[in-house]
């Protein structure tokens, strides 16, 4: 197990939050520990995941993509087929049920691409919880479709125009909101980041991705894959995919960060490949920062990867060399989108396309009897304007 000291992943993680939040974090920690052992909670979660979210998601053998890459055999874990179109619902639903059990009436969340916001708004509609979502003003513009979806679902979306007006600033505002309303409000953090116990809670709700993948690949191939590849924003789809494989040393784990316009240009979101360790949003982790410790803006064509930090468990897996962190640029991600559309008839989210792009390189270094599983974290409907713009179209 990767967190031997509670709340720590090696030297990473922790609870770097204002004192006002400490009691709430402790309550959450205790409530979560209890529910984890409560079979009625687990049954309830399983019920909704199956009947509402549509799990399990297929592990699909991508035959034409395999031919196109010309190397390892490629499987896609189809998180894009979940209700609301991404893996984010696994966590949002789990935490909304948790909040309900804790007797909380209101939910606050942050969102970048809007996928976590939509997933949270959806879970709140389902479970009759009041919901408020903070979203960077830049992202509100980039992801207008998802803003509209959230509003239809009865959620109040608040645009944040402070700082860089993106995901990190939305997290700041959500934290502030939580500090002020901690009595009756639960914060559904959207990725495997933030103060303990969030990285653990989010990982546990996302590990279903890896657990299913493991069972499915054993059934299809009678063996484990040689590599799994997932994109890294805050790191939730990736840790969900990686975690059940961490002890299986023969499975190589690849996390793909967003290199934006190229790491050398400084305009990227690659916290591990292009940052230093530091503290933001409650955790010690890899972080984009300047020499004064000021947090720098992240840049990625995909709003969901546009975060200057990375979940602390990834920092740890990097530290001990268990997972390998690589990157893909905006341009490579766009190529990944086109490729998957053309070969398999699947429009991936721009986030997921980073994983496709890296897998295309990795596959070529492997043989046809080797296996790669790519986590297809979400579908790309939300990104058509951005993709069109990148391709010189005028849909936007």
């Amino acid at each position: 197990m990767t967190n031997e000291v509670k709340g720590r992943f090696g030297r990473f993680g922790g609870q770097f939050v204002p004192e006002t939040l400490m009691t709430a974090l402790q309550e959450l920690d205790e409530a979560y520990d209890q529910l984890n052992e409560d079979s009625s909670f687990q049954d309830e979660l399983r019920y909704y995941l199956k009947n509402y979210v549509g799990r399990e998601t297929p592990l699909y053998f991508a035959e034409r993509l395999t031919k196109e890459f010309g190397g390892a055999k490629i499987y896609l874990k189809r998180e894009d087929l979940n209700h609301t179109g991404a893996h984010k619902i696994n966590n949002a639903l789990g935490q909304a049920l948790l909040a309900k059990r804790m007797g909380k009436k209101r939910i606050v969340a942050e969102t970048g691409a809007g996928q976590h916001g939509v997933a949270t708004a959806t879970a709140c509609a389902l479970l009759d919880l009041e919901c408020i979502v903070y979203m960077g003003a830049e992202d509100v513009k980039r992801q207008a479709l998802n803003v509209f979806r959230m509003e239809l679902l009865g959620t109040k979306v608040v645009a944040v125009d402070k700082g860089s007006a993106t995901l990190k600033d939305a997290v700041n505002e959500a934290l502030r909101h939580w500090v002020t309303n901690v009595d009756d409000t639960h914060y559904i953090l959207g990725s495997a980041m933030g103060p303990h116990p969030f990285p653990t809670i989010v990982r546990d709700f996302q590990r279903i991705i890896g657990d299913e993948t493991k069972a499915q690949i054993l059934e299809a191939e009678q063996r484990l894959p040689d590599a799994v590849v997932a994109c890294i924003g805050g790191g939730s789809n990736s840790i969900g995919m990686f975690y059940p494989f961490v002890e299986d040393k023969e499975v190589a784990l690849y996390g793909v960060e967003a290199a934006g316009k190229g790491i050398e240009t400084g305009k990227h979101a690659a916290a591990i490949n292009g940052g230093q360790t530091g503290v933001l949003h409650g955790a010690y982790m890899h972080l984009l920062q300047d020499e004064n410790g000021f947090v720098q803006e992240a840049h990625s064509i995909s709003a969901g990867l546009d975060y200057p930090g990375v979940g602390p468990e990834h920092s740890y897996l990097h530290d001990i060399g268990r997972a390998t962190y690589v990157s893909a640029t905006d341009e490579e991600a766009i190529e990944g989108v086109k490729l998957l559309c053309r070969t398999e008839g699947i429009l991936p989210a721009l986030e997921s396309a980073h994983a496709i792009s890296y897998a295309s390189k990795l596959a070529k270094t492997m043989t046809p009897d080797e296996i790669i599983v790519i986590c297809l974290s979400g579908r790309g409907d939300k990104d058509v304007h951005t993709i069109s713009e990148a391709l010189g179209g005028d849909l936007a």
Binding site: V17, P18, L21, N172, T180, L287, G293
Partner: protein, 259 residues
């Protein structure tokens, strides 16, 4: 021995209340830091809390956040603030308390920060995003340099935490009087009085009230429960407007807090 605690006790032993203004370093330019500090100490403040701007100030209310944004736009950094303070350290007669988020200290280097801050007159440090459980990351080094690490106690701290926090806090105990940073004060005066009594029962370190105190009446009301007050947003606003009358009235209220 704590210079900060001594400074507060020397005020309260006279029957007055401690008054600590919060200023945002670099708001209006770093060149304003020296005249502001010299003028505040001339007015008879007990200590001065020097805020360091940060890109992600999750514990700040809107007034201080905006002041921080202005300071950042001026190029203010923790290092530059320490350098500036150092340039007139021999004229500083009150203890300075730096309020900074953790990451700038880590980027500075805990050792160099502690040594250089000490030389610049910084006697205490408040790190709003570092609870007691995480303080080992900087506490031993600050301790060696003789800089106090002040802990905050919030309205949501459980009695068990309250006891640990008050016993660990150095210089003074910073009692937060509102839930959250922008929220209205949620407890009534008599509940707050109980709250302060409880905090003070664990320790002989002075307890100061902060967050959301902005009028001479509030200075007096809080002064009745504890050893003194910290005033932030109102001071920051008054400095922007160069409204020294308001600041003088606030300082004066602490001097006559006890009837």
């Amino acid at each position: 021995m704590s210079l900060l605690k001594d400074a507060i006790l020397s005020v309260t032993s006279q029957g007055d209340k401690a008054f600590i203004p919060y200023i945002m370093a670099g708001d209006g330019g770093l060149e304003k830091l020296k005249p502001t500090i010299l003028k505040l100490q001339q007015l008879g403040v007990t200590a001065i809390e020097v805020g360091i701007p940060f890109t992600d100030p999750v514990a700040d209310g809107p007034t201080i956040e905006r002041a921080g944004e202005r300071a950042l736009a001026n190029g203010t950094t923790l290092r530059k603030v320490v350098e500036t303070l150092n340039s007139f350290a021999d004229e500083i007669t009150v203890p300075l308390v730096a309020m900074t988020y953790l990451n700038p200290i880590l980027a500075y280097g805990v050792e160099s920060f502690s040594a250089e801050a000490k030389a610049a007159g910084i006697r205490g440090v408040i790190v709003p995003d570092m609870p007691l459980e995480e303080r080992e990351i900087i506490h031993p080094t600050l301790s060696d340099a003789g800089i106090d690490l002040v802990q905050l106690v919030s309205l949501t701290s459980t009695p068990e935490r309250m006891e640990r926090l008050t016993k660990a806090s150095e210089g003074f105990i910073y009692a937060v009087t509102v839930n959250g940073i922008t929220g209205a004060r949620s407890s009534f005066a008599n509940e707050l009085e109980e709250h302060f009594k409880k905090i003070q029962s664990y320790t002989d370190t002075p307890v100061l009230a902060g967050f959301g105190i902005s009028t001479p009446d509030q200075v007096k009301n809080f002064g009745a429960f504890c050893s003194g007050v910290i005033v932030g947003s109102k001071i920051v606003d008054s400095l922007v407007n160069e409204d020294w009358t308001t600041i003088e009235e606030l300082v004066a209220a602490a001097k006559t807090a006890v009837v």
